[in-house]
């Protein structure tokens, strides 16, 4: 679904991402892990169009998107969800959801003025869909509350719901568990899995919590200092020397640390 070939990004003297290549299978849950500063969020920014790559190509669903604008990429089905939830605080939860709908002719100036009935009809459809999704993520009781009054975890749920409104084929989740209370975290986890299971949405997630990564992802891509250093199943990654070294710095003088529970 997503094919990234040798992309790079430099900021002034700093190379954030260097010759990174990987691909994400359709319908999978793939994790992107690595120590802080490895370039993971930069990769997300590059793939979703918020940054332009200095080199390399990005293909999504067979189309080359490395020159596309971020909003075009989102409309094409590759939706980005941010680490710090970006929900317009002075809009209500429902408005946030309605905003994200695709194909609302009322967003075109002329149609908004001259085709009010068509706009209203579509608005009704969108509203129903939004409320459905809100029910799914257990936020429907807050539909009319200002988004600014939501807790951090609730905002993350809202962003997830909003992403669903855009009818994505693939979602980029940036540290969805960070800073979320455990109860909500479980809900989030469940929703992420449902995304793939029920709706066939491909999930590409940056995450630091290893338990989460191991339990839900089929494939793990590991980055360090701007490069991909490992790419494979969760089990293989766990035992990969390079990965362990990246996370721990140097191997202990007396040999490798204990691998995580499985026989090598």
């Amino acid at each position: 679904m997503l094919e990234v070939t040798a992309i790079s990004k430099r900021f002034g003297g700093l190379t954030a991402v260097s010759e990174v290549s990987f691909s994400v299978e359709a319908g999978s849950v793939t994790a992107l892990i690595g120590p802080n500063g490895a370039g993971k969020t930069t990769v997300f920014n590059l793939v979703s169009g918020f940054l332009r790559p200095d080199g390399g190509t990005i293909r999504f669903a067979g189309r080359s998107i490395d020159r596309w604008r971020a909003d075009t990429i989102a409309r094409a089905g590759l939706v980005r969800v941010f680490q710090a939830p970006r929900v317009p605080t002075r809009m209500s939860v429902l408005e946030n959801m309605l905003l994200a709908a695709k194909h609302q002719p009322g967003e075109r100036l002329a149609l908004s003025l001259f085709a009010p009935r068509r706009v209203a009809r579509r608005e009704g459809e969108i509203r129903r869909r939004a409320l459905e999704i809100l029910e799914l993520i257990h936020l429907q009781h807050l539909a009319d509350a200002y988004a600014g009054t939501l807790s951090g975890g609730q905002r993350k749920l809202l962003e997830l719901g909003r992403a669903l409104m855009v009818e994505p084929q693939m979602i980029l989740l940036d540290e969805p568990m960070a800073g979320v209370a455990p109860v909500l975290a479980l809900q989030l986890l469940d929703h992420i899995q449902q995304l793939r299971n029920r709706r066939g949405v491909t999930v590409f997630v940056i995450e630091h919590d290893m338990e989460v990564v191991m339990s839900i992802s089929e494939r793990v891509i590991v980055m360090d200092e701007g490069r991909v250093i490992a790419d494979g199943s969760p089990e293989a990654i766990q035992n990969d020397e390079r990965v362990i070294e990246a996370y721990l710095g140097r191997l202990a003088p007396d040999g490798k640390p204990e691998p995580g529970g499985t026989t090598p």
Binding site: F50, A70, D71, R75, R86, T89, L99, A100, V166
Partner: protein, 326 residues
């Protein structure tokens, strides 16, 4: 002029109506799309000059000249907007004032094109007095004649003009009120709050901002044309940056984000403006009429500061939305 004179009130209403349209243009750009355009007056200037030049030099008819005036303002908006929409807020403010001042300086210093410091009178070169207003005055006369049937002697040109202006202003207010509450308005609201979020859900932020800018240009142009027709002459000095800040004051009086507060703000402003010009009671009688202009502008500045500082929600606003800062 005495406060009970209906001509005074007609005039106040007239100016208020024109400023409603002008401020509505700023409202679309600033309150809806979040663009601090400090050079809004340039749209007035470009439209008025284009219309006057076409009428005086090329004998173009009023409607066509007016339409082209609006088109010229739209062009200016596009030219300014395309590069500058990505600027940070205060840089955009500075760039737009600078842009507006360029327009004014060019108008001042290209007498061959614009009549120079003389303004519209000088459009036919030295020694001739140019006037662009005949057709409009003719239109007004017919309207006045029509009005005199029900109203008799109360039907003056100013009254006809005031009614025309308010008919237009009222229509525009309704149109933009609906737009604000439409999905289009919703996208703008999101853009105002968080452009990145709007982009992430697939909205072309640039296009929306551009639309708001162009709409603002159209409204500014209409206000400029109406003002030019009302006064009959203009010069570059009539398009100082101060006028843009009149519009800001009007928006501020209404609390910045309530469309229906604009007429209230415009009426208050127009009263302040004409009041200091025409009313002669104490303490205004202490200041001679030449200096009243300075007093007026001093008060505008004072009100800007006071309202921004002490009552940002304006005369009618509520603080609730204001408090939900990011």
């Amino acid at each position: 002029m005495d406060i009970l004179n209906p001509a005074f009130w007609t005039f106040v209403a007239l100016i208020a109506g024109i400023y409603v349209i002008f401020s509505l243009g700023l409202y679309v750009q600033f309150s809806l799309a979040g663009l601090p355009n400090f050079g809004h007056v340039a749209f007035m200037a470009v439209a008025a000059y284009t219309m006057a030049i076409l009428v005086v030099r090329y004998s173009v008819s009023l409607q066509v000249a007016a339409a082209l005036g609006v088109a010229a303002a739209v062009c200016l908006g596009l030219v300014l907007g395309i590069p500058s929409l990505r600027l940070r807020a205060d840089y955009l403010a500075i760039a737009t004032v600078a842009g507006g001042e360029i327009v004014r300086y060019l108008a001042m210093n290209l007498p061959g094109l614009t009549g120079g410091p003389l303004g519209s009178i000088g459009l036919l070169g030295p020694g001739n007095i140019a006037s662009y207003n005949q057709e409009w005055q003719g239109l007004l006369d017919r309207l006045t004649a029509a009005l005199s049937i029900p109203l008799g002697r109360s039907a003056t040109r100013d009254l006809a003009m005031a009614l025309l202006v308010w008919a237009l202003a009222g229509t525009l207010l309704v149109v933009f009120w609906r737009l604000e509450r439409s999905p289009w308005g919703r996208v703008l609201k999101a853009i105002r709050e968080d452009e990145t979020a709007a982009t992430a859900v697939g909205k072309n932020v640039f296009a929306f901002k551009m639309q708001a800018l162009v709409l603002g240009a159209v409204l500014g142009a209409l206000a400029g044309l109406l003002l030019a027709w009302q006064i009959g002459v203009f010069s570059p000095d009539d398009y100082q940056p101060t006028l843009t800040f009149y519009a800001y004051l009007i928006l501020i009086l209404g609390g910045m984000n309530r469309l229906w507060a604009i007429p209230v703000g415009a009426a208050a402003f127009s009263l302040l403006y004409s009041g200091t010009r025409f009313m002669d009671f104490f303490p205004l009688s202490l200041i001679n009429s030449g200096s009243r202009a300075f007093l007026r502008l001093f008060l505008v500045g004072l009100l800007l500061v006071l309202f921004m500082a002490l009552r940002p929600e304006g005369l009618l606003g509520n603080r609730r939305e204001l408090l939900l800062e990011k």
